[in-house]
Amino acid sequence: MDYFAGVDIGSTMTKVVIVRGDKIETSLIGPTGPEHRKLANRVMEEALGQARLSFDDLTYIVATGYGRINVPFADRQITEITCHAKGLQSLLPSVKTVIDVGGQDCKGIKILNGKVMNFVMNDKCAAGTGRFLEIIADSLGVPLNKIGEISLTADKIAPVSSTCTVFAEAEIISRLATGESIANLLAGIHDAVATRIAALVKKLNVEPDIAVTGGGAKNIGLVKALGSKFGRELLVPPEPLITGALGAALMGKDIYERYAAEGQRPSRSGKKLEEATFFA
């Protein structure tokens, strides 16, 4: 059976998924650095090692995400919104609305049968993105992966009035000085982010089920706060970061199967997993 790979280069994290049939063979997540091309190679090599495969075992590779043009060994580039919809459909087929909270952006996607019906996106303002949570966690001296749980221990939500990340950071620091607890402030922060994201996503005709993906979905405090804005429990895939990469791999499989149905086999056009020079 053939292997297909998806590479998702996000603003903050790079993800690789290799599928065989409809099943995930292996997945890998690493931080995106300033040099996308070198990193794409390294993450792919690691994923292949993990799956005990060689580069030539891969039948088709699709790159996605904001750095997708920097994957010289990919056979095709597809936008992350399309790949997200595809990945979600295979993981949680009942989902009609996806909220993807990334490191530096946030998207709302309406899906029908694995296809994108409509989407909204914010990549212009840090409020409502992972960056906001990262900055606040930093200024409170709490690890980013702990803020969600801590926010759930709050005895009340300390409201945060600033929308802008820069102002919210200053507001948080002055509230700490007046004795507000970290848990209550974090509850306020998660509520503020959820309000901002909900305002964006509600521009779509939101229909259940609703899923949360991206790094933000790993934050239980944010998922609960978002749930309260939509008045229902939100679904989260087992590994919310790899939805786009999974979708990319599955898109590759579809493309390949369409060729195969016509009796063709798309050539890998001699692509190799090697360091590319920038203007090659």
């Binding site: 300033p34 530096q104 990549d123 212009k124 303002c125 840090a126 960056r131 906001f132 900055i135 600033s162 929308t163 802008c164 990340t165 820069v166 102002f167 002055s174």
Partner: protein
């Protein structure tokens, strides 16, 4: 001889202006810090000291600004928007559009021919068009905010920022620096990003010449030039751009003493 005092307690700085028979005698600008009551009093004291008088010599005091209501010795208060309008109209009667760039807020004010406020808008939601953005820039480049303007004039090829968000621009600036962009090019890019936000804000109240830029942001020559480039004409800048609202407050106090 009658002295009046105008005080503007802003989020970043507190300003005071002393008028003698309607003419500016002295002024002061001090950081507001965390205590607006003290800041207002300290700014007033410094301006009075410079005029060589005490509060006892002042017949009327007007306070304005974010912390204006905390100035307990003021006879009256007014909004900083109306004081801005009065101050700018006094200095530049031809001005119809005022862009005020404060430490945390930026505002656009549209004046009619008589200098009355026709419309105004305030941006308090986003640091992108405020002095805070310049502080972020100064921090990344390890320099003083007051040196930004001069250095930015040496830019060869201003960096083009993809967003006006101060947080995203900070990451972008760091990436561009690592790729070899000069501090001057970074700063000029930040000025352009800010100017675009500020002029967009002003467009929402209706752009009409002449234009004035006030507030601490107006002390940054690079930012003023970027705003000028965006407008297609050079804006007017008061000699002491931080004190226009305090001047307006003082002028209001003076008007009342004449009645």
């Amino acid at each position: 001889m009658a002295f009046v005092l105008g005080i503007d307690v802003g989020s970043g700085y507190s300003k005071a202006v002393v008028l003698e028979d309607g003419v500016v005698r002295s002024y002061a600008v001090i950081p507001s810090g965390g205590d607006y009551r003290k800041a207002g009093a300290a700014a007033a004291k410094e301006a009075l000291d410079r005029a060589g008088i005490t509060r006892a010599n002042v017949v009327r005091t007007f306070a304005a600004g974010y912390g204006g209501s905390m100035v307990d010795f003021a006879d009256d208060t007014s909004t900083d928007i109306s004081c801005h309008a009065i101050g700018v109209h006094h200095l530049f009667p031809s001005v119809k559009t005022v862009m005020d760039i404060g430490a945390q807020y930026s505002r656009a004010i549209r004046l009619d021919d008589a200098g009355r406020i026709a419309n105004f808008i305030m941006n308090e939601k986003c640091a992108g068009g405020s002095g805070k953005f310049l502080q972020v820039a100064a921090r990344i480049l390890h320099m003083n905010v007051s040196d930004i303007g001069e250095l930015s004039l040496k830019a060869q090829k201003p960096v083009e920022f993809t967003t006006g968000c101060a947080v995203f621009a900070e990451s972008e600036a760091v990436s561009r620096i690592s790729e070899g962009a000069s501090p001057a090019d970074i700063l000029a890019g930040i000025h352009n990003a800010m100017a675009s936000k500020i002029v967009t804000l002003a467009m929402r109240v209706g752009l009409a010449p002449d234009y004035a830029v006030t507030g601490g942001g107006a002390m940054d020559i690079g930012l003023v030039n970027s705003i000028g480039a965006e407008l297609g004409t050079k804006p007017l800048v008061p000699a002491h751009p931080q004190t226009t609202a305090a001047l307006g407050a003082a002028l209001l106090a003076w008007e009342q003493t004449k009645k």
